[in-house]
């Protein structure tokens, strides 16, 4: 398959997603203010229980970062993982599979489109959250922050493509798995509290979720001295692990997609609806 054709596929899929998400202005409002409700509740928990202003600022930094990165996790679960489920139900999946392009190109387009929209939601959560709740960030290294952010997203969307492959075989089971992976991952990855608190064994397992190390590193870079004290590993080490996870998940996603598609073709699950 030619590179040009695949790039056209990436562009086409991303274009639809970006245009689709922005055709309704009220969605922009909801996307901006909805995450703030959840973030605000967690902010007030810490405000009700923490006296030291510096500790409070570090914890609120964590909450705001967690709230903004939650948007990416939701996008990976529902916009990437479960997307093949919706396409199958709507009758589009067979059309996608007939097209002479790589599945990875298709999913890359979805990822880019999803990233574009989700980044808006995440940035607005960070900006509005920090202004409304008076949180100040102590940025120590912009370069490291960028590296952590992009590697986390690369690994995360690799994981998203891996999830998507499940939907080529399964229907409601996989939908429920996506549903199940929301809050437990918020807990395991320490979205709203320093993940180190979970203990060595749990954190070791949780580190396979890119958001665990990504959030921890971002918090260390932005959260001041308490964030460094509560950090899991040195930021450089976390960047290295995230790079490995990125390669690992993208490779696994490629093989899982090919395998699941082949199984789906043999067992006839690619066009099964309402299963």
């Amino acid at each position: 398959m030619s590179l040009e054709r695949n790039m056209r596929c990436v562009y086409a899929r991303a274009y639809v997603r970006i245009l689709g998400a922005n055709r309704e202005l009220s969605w922009v409002f909801f996307d901006t203010f909805l995450p703030l409700l959840g973030v605000a509740a967690f902010v007030y928990i810490y405000k009700a229980t923490t006296q030291d202003p510096e500790v409070l600022n570090t914890l609120l930094t964590r909450v705001i970062l967690g709230g903004s990165m939650a948007a990416f996790w939701m996008n990976v679960l529902w916009g990437m993982g479960a997307n093949f489920y919706y396409e199958k139900e709507n009758g589009n999946l067979e059309l996608f599979l007939m097209a002479p392009t790589s599945r990875m190109a298709l999913l890359l387009g979805m990822a880019i489109g999803g990233l574009f929209n989700t980044t808006f939601r995440a940035i607005s959560t960070v900006l509005l959250g920090s202004v409304i709740f008076g949180v100040s960030f102590a940025l120590t290294s912009p370069l490291q922050l960028l590296a952590v952010f992009f590697l986390t997203l690369l690994a995360l969307y690799g994981l998203g493509i891996l999830f998507a492959s499940l939907f080529l075989m399964y229907g409601r089971e996989a939908w429920h798995i996506s549903n199940l992976l929301q809050e437990p991952i918020f807990l395991l990855s320490g979205f709203y509290f320093p993940v180190r608190f979970l203990g060595f064994y749990v954190v070791t397992i949780a580190s396979f979720i890119p958001l665990t190390l990504g959030l921890d590193a971002m918090n260390q870079i932005l959260g001041g001295r308490y964030a460094l004290e509560w950090g899991l590993l040195p930021v450089g080490t976390e960047i290295g692990i995230l790079a490995i996870l990125s390669i690992l998940f993208v490779l696994m996603a490629k093989y899982a997609l090919a395998y699941m598609e082949e199984r789906g073709r043999r067992e006839g699950s690619l066009v099964l609806k309402f299963q």
Binding site: S26, F30, K47, T49, L187, F193, F274
Partner: protein
Amino acid sequence: MPMREFWTFRHAAWLGWQTESNWTDPLLFATYSVIRPITTTLMVVLMYWFVGSKETSLFELMFLGNTLYMYIFNVPFGISYVIMEDREHYKVLKYLYISPANIYVYLMGRGVSKFVITTVAVAITLAFGVLFLGVHIALGTINPLFLAASFVLGLTGLIAFGTIMAGISLLVARHNFYIGESLAGIFYLFCGVVFPISVLPWWGEALGKVIPITYWLEATRRSLLGFGDPTLAQLTDMEVFGILAFSTLLLLALSVVLFRAYNHVARARGVIDMTTWY
């Protein structure tokens, strides 16, 4: 309840249960149903533990509020989601409308499965809290009548919220999730689910005090823990119950009127069978 409404309710409850649970075996379904709510509660528990909050009462207040929030999220959202599911996914809503079923009763019936599943999750989470997290349920001081009456009122209020949202869902395209998430977020933030409402700014506290759910949480906390939100301490148990009863009846009446109106408009506009999930 007339016979036809009874059968509608019964079949809707059965259908709801099948839709929720028949995608897997019962054991896996049971595990699935409790993992998510328990982890949500654990997350807030860990936040409290991390900051080393020494106030046991605040922790228990939060724990019970967060556990009961499962009803607040699942029941209304579950009822309103039925419209989107039946209209857009399974495309059967139009057939329900031409059957003898009463749609309002049908929606309430579909909410039963959500209620049953949530009740199991709440019971397990409460047991987990009592056994492992040191939450003290004051068994000796529980007033069962007060608890049962406020529970029925609270649940009625949640069903009423659900049917109002379902009515709105009949008219909107693709906004159903946003409406559900917004209301759930507003209730979580302003009803004192995980902190006393006095922590909020004055306007937030005032908003919390006009939402019936705040009083349902308060009545249940007083019943099970023996104390409630310090912000509402000046109210007697009977006053809390009275406000809850009055606001719930008002909400129920409003839900019947609003649903009837939304239903009429939806039929007049011809949007009962619209599909917008593309």
